[in-house]
């Protein structure tokens, strides 16, 4: 099977990789590029654990081929924090909005994307936006509070 040669920008860095034609970008990130922060949950687009941004658009990386990433800008959980944690990450820690943590990278990526599009979302907007990010531990309330808190921090940085 002929591998596909792909050049993308991943977290701001130009990256070249070879992938199988039927390999997902999730598998490429984890298995070829060592970016294991992005998690595989269901592998069918239901759980959101593998959420990444492609050209600024939130998607499930389990439902995109590596070959489709040619020329695309991809942001993963590894690209979220700078010198310090992103306010969404800090808020999730402070609100104890995680337990086992497998859904957390996807929730951080999705919540950050939400706040970039809707800086002041109401609770309904947050819940619908995150409806594709399943969490079996927290019962969601702490996640919602954390996102509301992060929105405040982003609007009024300390």
């Amino acid at each position: 099977m002929a591998k596909v040669h792909v050049t993308s920008r991943i977290n701001g860095q130009t990256q070249e990789f070879l992938c199988e034609p039927n390999q997902t970008i999730l598998e490429v990130l984890r298995d070829e590029l060592g970016l294991t922060g992005t998690k595989e949950g269901c592998a069918t687009g239901d759980c959101g654990a593998c959420s990444v941004l492609v050209d600024g658009r939130l998607i499930c990386s389990c439902l995109m081929l590596g070959a489709e990433a040619a020329g695309k800008d991809i942001e993963t959980i590894e690209g979220v924090a700078g010198e310090e944690l992103h306010p969404v990450q800090t808020a999730i820690l402070e609100h104890a909005a995680l337990q086992c943590g497998i859904c957390t990278p996807g929730i951080v990526v999705a919540a950050k994307a939400l706040l970039e599009k809707h800086p002041d979302p109401d609770e309904t907007t947050i819940r619908y936006w995150l409806a594709g990010n399943l969490c079996r531990c927290t019962g969601y309330d702490k996640i919602i509070r954390a996102v509301q808190d992060a929105a405040k921090t982003l609007a009024h940085p300390a």
């Binding site: 034609p21 687009g45 658009r57 998607i59 081929l65 999705a110």
Partner: protein, 288 residues
């Protein structure tokens, strides 16, 4: 035994050639159905033909006579287009009901159509809106009304070597708007138990002069219900007309019983959805 291959042709002709060249070729647009099927249901090797590099499939145009939605246009992109949402609220809200934010970032209404699930939400909405499929092939292409495109559960009218380039939707006139409603047991992220798309045109007095009603998830394919439209036309969408339209939808449906609902339940619910969608479409048409 073939192998997997991936190609991203740069022209319509090259897509058609790629579809003809492989033993087994399959088009990918959003990939939200294809990847699940390819990785868990049918793992056989094939050539994956990506149609997202074409200018034609990325078209999202609101013209004087028609709206064009290319096959690579995601549901998220449609719902961010305010003019489109104002003009075809039924079609855009159907796309907005399918899957999560993540799914809508990739999924396309044309893919929903090609996948041909009986419960596909955008299909009744597109039928109600009078959409026409723009099909590319080696002979200069052809057009087909959306209600003739889906031929059965998971099957469509595309011949080998053909692919769906986009859909053309007649631009709604003044006092003409659509609506789509579905019922699911939860509020989000589920598959329709029943769905109904309605488009109505009113005259200056509020009398309905034209209508299209389509129902989904209550038959092997989404279907146009002319009797429901007839019940709406000529009146002012009053109680009797809404009741009759709903009854026509119940009569036209042939649902199955499954874990989401019994056949009897679906027949009742589709009537309620028709009434409510017609009322919403009427309100929108009055304001348009």
């Amino acid at each position: 035994m073939g192998a997997f291959a991936y190609v991203a042709p740069q022209s319509v002709d090259d897509v058609v050639a790629a579809l003809g060249a492989a033993d087994r070729a399959q088009v990918i647009a959003g990939g939200t159905d294809l990847l699940v099927q390819m990785r868990s249901v049918d793992r056989e090797p094939r050539t994956i033909v990506d149609i997202k590099s074409l200018a034609e499939t990325n078209r999202l145009d609101i013209g004087d006579d028609e709206v064009y939605v290319g096959a690579a246009v995601s549901s998220a992109l449609m719902n961010e287009n305010e003019a489109l949402c104002n003009l075809l609220p039924g079609v855009t809200e159907a796309g907005d009901l399918i899957g999560s934010t993540q799914i809508q970032g990739r999924a396309t209404i044309c893919g929903n159509l090609c996948n041909a699930s009986p419960a596909g939400d955008s299909i009744p909405a597109l039928i109600a809106a009078g959409a026409i499929c723009d099909i590319a092939n080696a002979n200069g292409g052809r057009e087909l009304p959306v209600d003739e495109f889906v031929t059965g559960v998971g099957t469509n009218a595309l011949e080998p070597g053909e692919f769906l380039l986009g859909v053309k939707i007649p631009r709604p006139a003044a006092h003409s708007r659509d609506a789509y409603l579905r019922f699911i047991p939860r509020t989000e992220m589920d598959i329709a138990v029943a769905g109904c798309g309605v488009s109505v045109t009113l005259d200056d007095d509020g009398t309905c002069t034209a209508a299209r009603v389509a129902i989904g998830a209550v038959a092997p394919t989404a279907i146009l219900v002319p009797a429901a439209a007839d019940a709406l036309i000529g009146g002012k969408l009053d109680e009797a007309a809404l009741q009759a339209a709903g009854e026509a939808c119940t009569a036209a449906s042939s649902p199955i019983t499954d874990k989401r609902g019994t056949a009897e339940y679906r027949r009742k619910v589709v009537a309620v959805l028709c009434r409510r969608a017609a009322e919403i479409a009427g309100q929108r048409a009055r304001g348009a």
